[in-house]
Each structure stands twice: as structure tokens, then as C-alpha cells.
Symmetry: C2
Subunit: 407 residues, 2 copies
């Protein structure tokens, strides 16, 4: 039984967090937190997955290095600058960890480091160094909200969740904060996500669970097809729930993985629905496929299509673009078998049957498509497999936000 609870990234026993404004970006509002710190009372088993972009930001290499031993104590992260593609980026990522270590009495290698923001400008490391003692002083079990806000860039809503489950008679908690918005596309997390848990689990099992879950959640989100240089999703497990240690793929492992998937699915949908400029969350459910892989590829092509996304913005039931996007996905299917419906809380309408358009009630379709959450449901009538992918509509605001992001 997975139950949603409060507390975000501090919901699990032994985790504290904070978020402060330190001025990474010149002239940024002092109201806007830009430096987040998360710390565990005990050493954690830790695992991460990262962007597949060939151009990786320095913090990713530093994090990979620090996680080589499978353990960590905390996370230090900033918004306002990606610390990517600029002189001294590697050194500055290490300096961030050193400053976090000094402020908390730990070692630099105990920290995961992440940055998000503009690429190619040298990060204001002095501001971060000044901010970290402040962030450390503010560490608290109620700090999730401040930390979640500190990693937001063009996000319009804070992304935070926690759940509780019972393993071997003990309550185990998983909590997380995330940021998304632009540069969101399948192939690794494509955002920042920090997950904490008090579950007792080995590094190996934790890494296995994370990889599998990310594949079915964050990797099924697309906002604009651009895969960022900085995407990072990490999980820290400190074992303080005192459940029997998960070291095999047993029932407890399965239950933990399901709860982790619940957390990541929630955040993936939140990221998709809050894509830059988005006015709607668009889900494509592809059923009746010959394989999950082809279902996923087809569904991703649909939610990734600029033309489908623009049609969703206009609440236009232009299903031809759905079929067209499937057509160039490179996944095999028979167009002449395809049924397409649009669904939302306002109802459901079949618009294409066996590859041909139907006459349908345009008013009902409009009503369905003007809701906040839309489902494009496609039945391939070829097999038993399915996949679900998430995206958002393409709006004027996407263009506005990205037309002049640096200044």
C-alpha cells in the first residue's frame, strides 16, 4: 500500500534540507532561492542516472566521480547557471562540493552536485561559497519546500512528493523534489530530481531500481525534444527505517520499486504538465502494440510532434497529425488498423477508426480538448503491449520564454 504523505525530500527519516538565495545570477530577485542543500544524518547508499547528451556539464562528471563508491551524504545544487561549457567549470563544481563539505563538517566526496540554468557562462562560485554556510545553518526537516524552490528555473510550480509504505513491518518513506521545464526530452531524466529514502537497500539494488523506474517514467516525458547537458536523477538511501536490508530482487524490492515508480511517475507528469509555456498536460496512451518498445516509440513521437503540440494548444482535434507523427516514428505498425480517440474529464471521442477519419461532434471534441489534462488514446490492434508517454502543448509562451532566456 503506497500512501502519499507530506514532507517532500525530508519526509524520510534522517534527512534535512534547505534553500537560500545567494545570487548566482546577477540582479536576480532576493526572493528567489537559487541554492539548495540536502543532507542525511547517516551515510547513504546512492545511485544516479544522467543525461545522454554528449556534451555533459561538469557537475555530472564530478557527481559520477563522487558516486564511484556507491555512497553519499548529501546534495548541493544551484539554479541560475548550468556550469557547463565554460572555463573552470570542473574546478567550480568541485569547489561547490568543498564549500558544502566545509559548511556541514563532511568531505567534498560525500556530495552530489548539480546545476541548472544558462550554458556557457562562468558560474559565480563566490556567491555559492558565501551562501553555503547560510544554507547549512538553515538545514531542517521542514526544508523541502525551500530546496524545491531553489532548483526551479522557468518552472511555474514546485515539484515535490513523498510516499510511505511498509516493508517487513517497518514504515519506509520515499520523498523527492524535482525541476523540469525546458530541454525536456526522452533519454534519461532530462531534469534535476533528488530522491531520498530511509529504506535499507544495497547500492546495487538501489541503482537497479532507479534505472528501471527512470526508463518508464522520466524517459517517457518530452517537452521540446532538446536533451539538456545537465540532467541528473539521484537517489539516496540511509537505511534509518530499519526494514530488513533489501539485497535481492525479492518481494520487498518489488514493493520498494513500485513506490519509487509512483514517486517518479508523479514528478514526470508534473514536469510534462509544467513544460515551458505549457497550458495542458498531454498523455499519449498507445495500446494493442506488438512490443512495449514500439508502443513507447510511437507514443513519444506523438507527444513530441510540434504539430500535435500546437493542435493541442488550439484544442483542435487534428488526429491526422497524430497518425502522421506515428508514421515517422520508425516503429512498425499498420495505419489501416489504427483507432484514435481524444479523452479528458469532459468525455471521450473516437475520431479515427481503422486509419480513416470519422465524422465527429466538433463541439464535444473542443470541449474535451480544452481541459487541463488530455489523453490521446491510440489502439494499434496488433498485440497486447502498451506504453504511456507525457508531454505538453506548444504555446506562445514557450516561444516567449525561449526567445530571450539569457538576458
Amino acid at each position: 500500500m503506497i500512501k502519499e504523505i507530506d514532507g517532500g525530500v525530508c519526509a524520510a527519516k534522517g534527512f534535512q534540507a534547505s534553500g537560500v538565495h545567494c545570487g548566482v545570477k546577477a540582479n536576480s530577485s532576493p526572493e528567489k532561492n537559487d541554492l539548495a542543500l540536502i543532507l542525511s544524518q547517516r551515510e547513504c547508499a546512492a545511485a544516479g542516472v544522467y543525461t545522454l547528451n554528449r556534451v555533459k556539464a561538469a557537475p555530472i562528471y564530478v557527481t559520477m566521480d563522487h558516486l564511484e563508491d556507491g555512497t553519499a551524504w548529501g546534495v548541493v545544487a544551484n539554479s541560475g547557471n548550468a556550469n557547463a561549457c565554460c572555463p573552470m567549470s570542473h574546478e567550480n563544481a568541485e569547489l561547490m562540493c568543498a564549500a558544502a563539505a566545509q559548511a556541514t563538517g563532511r568531505e567534498p566526496g560525500d556530495f552530489i552536485v548539480a546545476s541548472t540554468g544558462v550554458i556557457g557562462q562562468t558560474i559565480n562560485i563566490a556567491a555559492i561559497q558565501v551562501g553555503l554556510p547560510d544554507a547549512a545553518a538553515k538545514l531542517s526537516p521542514e526544508g523541502s519546500d525551500a530546496a524545491a524552490r531553489a532548483i526551479m528555473t522557468t518552472d511555474t510550480v514546485k515539484k515535490e512528493i513523498a510516499v510511505s509504505l511498509t516493508l517487513g513491518g517497518k514504515e519506509v518513506r520515499i520523498g523527492a523534489i524535482a525541476k523540469g521545464s525546458g530541454m525536456i526530452h526522452p533519454n534519461m531524466g532530462t531534469m534535476l530530481c533528488f530522491i531520498t529514502t530511509d529504506c535499507a537497500i544495497t547500492h546495487e539494488m538501489l541503482e537497479d531500481a532507479l534505472r528501471q523506474v527512470v526508463m518508464h517514467t522520466f524517459n517517457r516525458v518530452t517537452v521540446d525534444g532538446d536533451t539538456s547537458t545537465n540532467d541528473t536523477c539521484v537517489v539516496l538511501a540511509n537505511g534509518m527505517a530499519e526494514n530488513p536490508l533489501i539485497e535481492w530482487m525479492d518481494d520487498d524490492y518489488a514493493a520498494f520499486k513500485d513506490a519509487l515508480a509512483y514517486v517518479c511517475r508523479h514528478l514526470a507528469r508534473a514536469i510534462a504538465g509544467d513544460g515551458e509555456g505549457a497550458s495542458r498536460l498531454v498523455t499519449c496512451k498507445m495500446v494493442g502494440a506488438r512490443s512495449e518498445e514500439s508502443a513507447e516509440r510511437l507514443a513519444k513521437a506523438v507527444v513530441g510532434s510540434a504539430l500535435v503540440k500546437a493542435a493541442m494548444f488550439g484544442a483542435d482535434a487534428n488526429w491526422g497529425r497524430v497518425l502522421c507523427a506515428m508514421g515517422y516514428s520508425k516503429a512498425p505498425f499498420r495505419p489501416e488498423h489504427v483507432d484514435i480517440s481524444f479523452e479528458s474529464e469532459a468525455g471521450s471521442i473516437l475520431v479515427c477508426k481503422q486509419g480513416d477519419g470519422l465524422d465527429f461532434d466538433e463541439d464535444l471534441a473542443k470541449n474535451i480538448l480544452t481541459q487541463k489534462e488530455i489523453v490521446i488514446a491510440v489502439d494499434l490492434h496488433e498485440g497486447e503491449d502498451s506504453a504511456e508517454c507525457w508531454g505538453c502543448d506548444l504555446t506562445y509562451d514557450y516561444v516567449k520564454i525561449n526567445g530571450d532566456y539569457r538576458t
Copy 2:
């Protein structure tokens, strides 16, 4: 010597064209031509390339069928409806050819047929049948303009060109009309393009030249990553220039192919610069590559990136997005060797050297990027190969145009 001349698709000897309004789309303006006809005085060697989308519109299958013998006499094409994914689409594409044949005294199999517009709605074939005698009556050597206008959809400028060259002492002419705008993406022509020539050339050589040229021109254009169901590029050669028949890959073949490339490159750039809602033509020149293939893949990723496109709209020298797009292109390169410049008629500015950002004059950059034609020049410093791809910026108008296209 390739010389630009007037006359468009009727510039070559023996070709006539016309464009009329027949009302394919209900309530469309009577000022807007929607039916085009092109006819040769003699049988032509003919070749075509088509969309790679798995969902192909019926006119493509009919055209493939009619071109099986390597010959054709003319083209019939409409805008306002794609004749794709709807009942009777195949039958209606055949009926279009039959009506064109009846109106011109030829056979249905003599015609190439193409449609462009909304997907999934049954085409108003009666309007086309009524319009074709009118179109046939208006066939004229001055008809290129009317035909070019008849195939426009959301295009804002007519796309037309003709060139002349000399082969074996004879003047040979090549002319063409095209339409582009939405659903423009590499992998075949991704638009409609009808090319005519009076060159004497075998079907085999014509097909070979077309395939090679399309690969380096139309396939290097991207507007929004969506590959249409209807893309078609055909060439008709009637031999009336009486040059020595091209039947080998000799010098005449090379000269003909160069001229064909000139025509297609002109139209490819015109299509990119007139992408839906576009305010600028964006060219990415990728040099110093290990192979042409990887240069092309990198350049395509840059002009295809929604974030790069939005930055170009905002005249924002956000070169980090250029490097980021290269990073997820899946082509191998070393980020730490990459130089990036922005160029236009207002000047040139180096913004990234060996993978790191430079301090640069923001005013000069803004001035360079506010021009109509922008070049993103990237030097990989790895080899001798290069490629050039074309796209456009992402604007409010793209969203507006595609938010409600059907109605």
C-alpha cells in the same frame, strides 16, 4: 555556366501550366488558386522521390504506380486537402488523374498526382472534376505563376525558379515550382516540388540525379521535425532541347546535375526561410568534420532544435544551445575542439572557442542576429568534411498557424 532565367516551371521548351480556383476547401476565397496543372507537349522521362513517412497519402501510391514505366506527361495537384487517411482516398487520387486526362486528351496513367492540406477529411473530388476543364483551358507557357500559387498552403511567398545551361551546344532549361511551410523535416523532400526540363536524359540518369540532389538539398531542410504524409518531388524531362541524350555519368550528366542542384538548393532555402511563421532563414554550416554524414547530422540537430530556433527568433546569441543540440545528435565529435560563430550580412562574431564561451560584444551579436538570414558556423577541427542545413526560427506565428489549422 548556370544562369537564372524567368518562366518557372514553364521555362523549359514544351511545358505549359495553369492554376485555378475550384473550391477544394469549402468557403475558401475565390482569389486563392487550389488546383494546378502542368503538361508537356511530349512524353517525358520522369522520376520521383517521396516521403519516408510510414503513413503515405494515396496520391503518392498512385504516382508511384503511374511512374512505374519511367514516363509521364504532366502533373495534377491541389491544395486545401491532403487526400490522406480518409475513405476513398485512393479512388479519388485516381479520379483526379482521370479528370486531368479527360480534360487534356491524355491517359490517366500519364499523370503525376499530388495533394496538400488537411489530413483525414474526404477530398471534394467533384470540385476538382469541375475545375480541371477550366485548368486545361488555361494551360499556357505563362502559367507558372498561377500553378505555383495553386499549390501554396500556409506559404507566404511563391516558390519558383528556372535556370539555363548549355549542353553539347544546345540550351537546356530547368524550371520548378514548390511549396513548403509546415511539416518540413529531413528525410525526403518534405514538400511538393515539380521540376520540368527540356533536357534529353534517360529515366535512369534522371532518377539518379534527382536522388543525389534531393539528398543534399531538400533533405537538409527542417522546419518543425514533422515529416509529412504527402511529400513529393518529381522531375519531368521531355528532351525538346535536343542536346545529346544523357545516358551515362559523363560531363553532361555532371553539368545537368549541378544545374538541378542549383534549382533544388534555391527552393530548399526558400522553403526553410518561409517555414510556418518564420521570420529568419537559419543556416548551419558545419565544417572540419570527420565525415559528411556526421557533419549533416550535427547541422540538422542544430537547425532542428526548438531551443535554438526560439533563440534565433529572439536574436539571442545563445550558443550553448547550439553545442547542446550537437551533443544529442548522436554524431561523434569532441566538444572541447568546437568553435562557434554567428554570421550575417551585419558581420561575424566568434562566441565559443574550443568548447568554452568567450566574452563577446552583445550589441554586435544582436545586430548580426536581427538580420533576415543568419548563419550558425561551427568548426569541429576534426577533419575535412562539411555540410550545410537550413531551417528557420520558431515564432509566435508558428504556434498561431498550427494551433487551429483545420478550421
